[in-house]
Symmetry: C2
Subunit: 526 residues, 2 copies
């Protein structure tokens, strides 16, 4: 049984079988298979309960690195997570690679972070690939797939699920469906499992194709995200899901916000011509019953055509691309994403400051102005002078109007700035996820450049070189289709969000003007 140290304070929500823990406390893990980001643990007083997995750090685990293909052990060790945190790093003396036919191993471990969140057993089995088995590579733990590995891989026979790319005015584009897919995420409901031991929130997802709602928990969205990342991540930047969050997850505000963000994420996935027609995505949206869902899940998890293999399903209907031109385009795009990232951050920054002012000092000031008017009105009422009431009524009304304005001002950011911020936040994520896709493509291009040297060294044949060129061209088509998809979506999204922002701003200013007009009408100069 593993022991774990608590990294952050966690306060149990009453009636939820949770355990309150303090930073630094040592727990015994009783059950790591509760799921949903939770473990069952016991504290030093013998109290048991659920603790969020992210809040603790397992102190002693044994791990093995095993080649998923030939099952040979690539490395092993223990305590990969030092008490101070951090990922497994190569131990002094190197990984234990005894018993494996190859000497250069653990090449596939690029980002092991995912493990910690996905696996929860006493012994961690890190499944990687040894270099010799890289041909049917699978990179479930890597967020940066190494697509250049596909360049010389032995490919499976072409399946029926082909992803065509056409060349249009704007350049290579995916095949877009005639009627776009869309879905509505709505109606969050509390559910429970483990005989009421654990509560969770279930969202209703209704696609426009069937108009039949299916239920999904956050963890299902997370599962879908992992599948999409695994299957399409090498070619299609998959934006992250909205943040996992444990505390306050039953609060209305939080549920609303998460739902809205899941909706945004689903919309973006629906709008993607490759994602939207994929089997796993369709399963998620349209499964008929629990059995179909489970079967579909298992099938998706066993899908072999993942990682860089996605490129083997892409069919550009065009001649091989000029690599110099492609490189220039990619460089331009990289620069573009970098400056857009800066621009977006800038806007988010200003937006945050503005949000704080609009919800903090500004409405307080309007409130004070309102109070000052009303105060004067009360004073005037004590004058004992005749014919005072018209003025005092009007002053009171004006004061109340400014109090209303205070409220309108305070609530406005939720109505307009919110969507502007959310869209930009989403784009910040999108731009980040693009980075890996572009980097993978660049690595492939670099590999092709080395082709002659590799030929001379006898590492590849002339045929290999031709294959590498062709496959890189496919990757370039794919990347350009993605770039164009990104641009057209960006233009649509920014037009839409700016329209929404300005519309709401106009409504805001007009509402206030109307209220002031009413207040004005009460004053009279004799």
């Amino acid at each position: 049984m593993a022991t774990a140290q608590v990294m952050y304070d966690f306060t149990a929500e009453p009636g939820n079988n949770e355990l309150t823990v303090k930073e630094g406390e040592i727990l015994t893990i009783i059950n790591q298979n509760v799921g949903g980001g939770w473990v069952e643990a016991q504290n030093s007083k013998g109290e048991c309960g659920l603790v969020p997995e992210d809040y603790i750090q397992v102190m002693c685990v044994v791990f093995e690195l095993q080649c998923r293909c030939c099952f040979s052990q690539v490395a092993n060790g223990n305590n990969p997570w030092s008490p101070g945190g951090g990922y497994p790093s190569e131990p002094a003396g190197g990984w234990n690679t005894q018993g494996h036919p190859q000497t250069q191993h653990n090449a596939g471990i690029t980002d092991i972070h995912a493990l910690r969140q996905d696996l929860c057993t006493g012994i961690y089995l890190l499944v990687v690939f040894c270099n010799s088995c890289v041909c049917i590579c699978r990179f479930p733990f890597s967020k940066t797939p190494n697509p250049e590995l596909y360049l010389l891989a032995k490919l499976p026979p072409k399946g029926k699920d082909r992803l065509p790319i056409y060349v249009t005015d704007v350049g290579p584009v995916w095949l877009y469906p005639e009627s776009p897919l869309d879905c509505v995420v709505a109606d969050p409901k509390k559910g429970s499992k483990l005989y009421g031991l654990k509560s969770y929130i279930e969202y209703q997802v209704t696609p426009n194709t069937t108009s039949r709602p299916v239920n999904h928990r956050y963890k299902h969205f997370d599962w879908l995200y992992e599948r999409l990342l695994e299957k399409f991540g090498s070619a299609v930047p998959i934006p992250s899901l909205p943040d996992k969050q444990v505390t306050g997850r039953f609060e209305e505000e939080f549920i609303k916000m998460r739902m809205e963000r899941l909706q945004g994420w689903m919309c973006r996935m629906c709008r993607h011509p490759v994602i939207s027609r994929s089997e796993v995505f369709q399963l998620f949206l349209t499964y008929n019953d629990e059995k179909e869902w489970k079967t579909g899940k298992r099938k998706a998890e066993k899908d072999e055509c993942v990682g860089p293999l996605i490129f083997s399903t892409i069919d550009p209907e065009a001649p091989e691309l000029d690599s110099v031109e492609v490189e220039q385009r990619c460089e331009l795009f990289s620069k573009f994403t970098k400056s857009m990232d800066d621009g977006v951050k800038d806007l988010l920054n200003v937006g945050n400051i503005h949000w704080k002012r609009c919800t903090g000092p500004l409405p307080k000031e309007y409130q004070k102005i309102g109070k000052a008017f009303q105060n004067l009105s009360s004073v005037f009422n004590t004058s004992g002078y005749q014919g005072e009431t018209t003025l005092t009524d009007a002053l009171t009304a004006a004061g109340k109007t400014y109090e209303e304005i205070a409220q309108i001002v305070a609530e406005q950011p939720k109505k307009d700035l919110h969507f502007l911020m959310e869209t930009n936040q989403e784009y910040k994520g999108l731009l980040g996820s693009f980075h890996d896709t572009v980097a993978g493509h660049k690595a492939a291009i670099d590999k092709v450049k080395e082709a002659d040297k590799m030929m001379l060294a006898g590492k590849i044949t002339t045929q290999d070189k031709v294959t590498m060129g062709k496959r890189t061209s496919i990757m370039s088509y794919s990347l350009q289709a993605e770039m164009n998809h990104f641009h057209s979506n960006r233009i649509y999204d920014y037009n839409r969000v700016m329209q929404h922002y300005l519309e709401e701003q106009i409504r805001f200013y007009e509402t206030i003007a109307d209220k002031l007009k009413l207040a004005l009408s009460q004053f009279t100069t004799l």
Copy 2:
């Protein structure tokens, strides 16, 4: 020749014959008769030039207190202003009152502050009244006239300038003219005197009665203020003129502000039924030439019917007032002015904070939002993607709109808050000046209460007591007419200023909404 110490730094304006001086520096006063708030001085280096009188402190002067009536010396001394500042206070051993037939003197010196600003000779002659001459009292230096002294004074024969008071629904009121007097203060022009040695600003004042403009400098307004205070101050609270200010007095902004405030002050004076028909006020507004002005000035300065004697010209057309009821009314009014003063200060306080926000952080934020939009637009322009320009043009326009909004926001307080603040500032002054009038009336009421005691002590006769009662009643009528004048003006002014404020606020919100509508029209969702 007097020496003086510099109290505040003063920087000479080039070409104006001024002398730059530093705090603490010792100057020799060469000419104290330059006038207009200036003295000619020489510094330790031998440099000569003009220095504002308010910025220096005369270190050694001889002063005499002389009865204006019998010319006997009431007191004398020197160095009335200690180096640390302050007003003349009774020296140890008391004032020197030798040579005067009476023993109890200097009763009239209640506030000698005015002296320091008005007289500029090596020897200060403080003109006061000895108690025995109080019957034809004149209190040119007192801002708090002692109206109770009028109660038993020997009055001059009734003149033709009577001030009637009528009793209406709201109580006692002054006789209001059928068509109200008004004037426009405009067209400030730089003039010069002393063969170009000194420059000043001259304003054009045009009354609605003659529509013929007359020219006046600030010091003329100040002269008018002093005359009105002297003549009517016991009965009519005379609000102070806008602050004297020396540095920056030729700056456009300052001149505009002073003109606006002089206009406000003149309007208030024009609206007062007693002030507006007075000879001195009419002279100020309608003199035909320099000669008429000078003759009129001299006449006004020699006017004997000043201070509490003004009550001798008031004719209430009604029976003697019940002093208990009057006292209650006065108490109510005192409470009212106190709470209104609080309310006004509160509003001024909030207004100041709001002003700072509107002209400081808020427009900066709108500017940043505008810049962020324009920045994104520039980034989008580098995408190399077709069909980008509609969005980038719209984004740039939206960005510029927010920059314009920044400017509108920053300039708005000048358009609306400004007048709200100015009116309240004016009322703060008015409420302050009312305090003395009410206090004077209260002193008279208290004197009447002592009448029986004084009769027993043989200090007054039965006839005196009757006279005191009648005269106090006249003072009460006058005060109530003033209160009612104040209330009706207040109701008018606050209605007007609130209307103005709200109208400008509406225009502000509508202008922004219109600008945003224009910006919105450029966006398009394909």
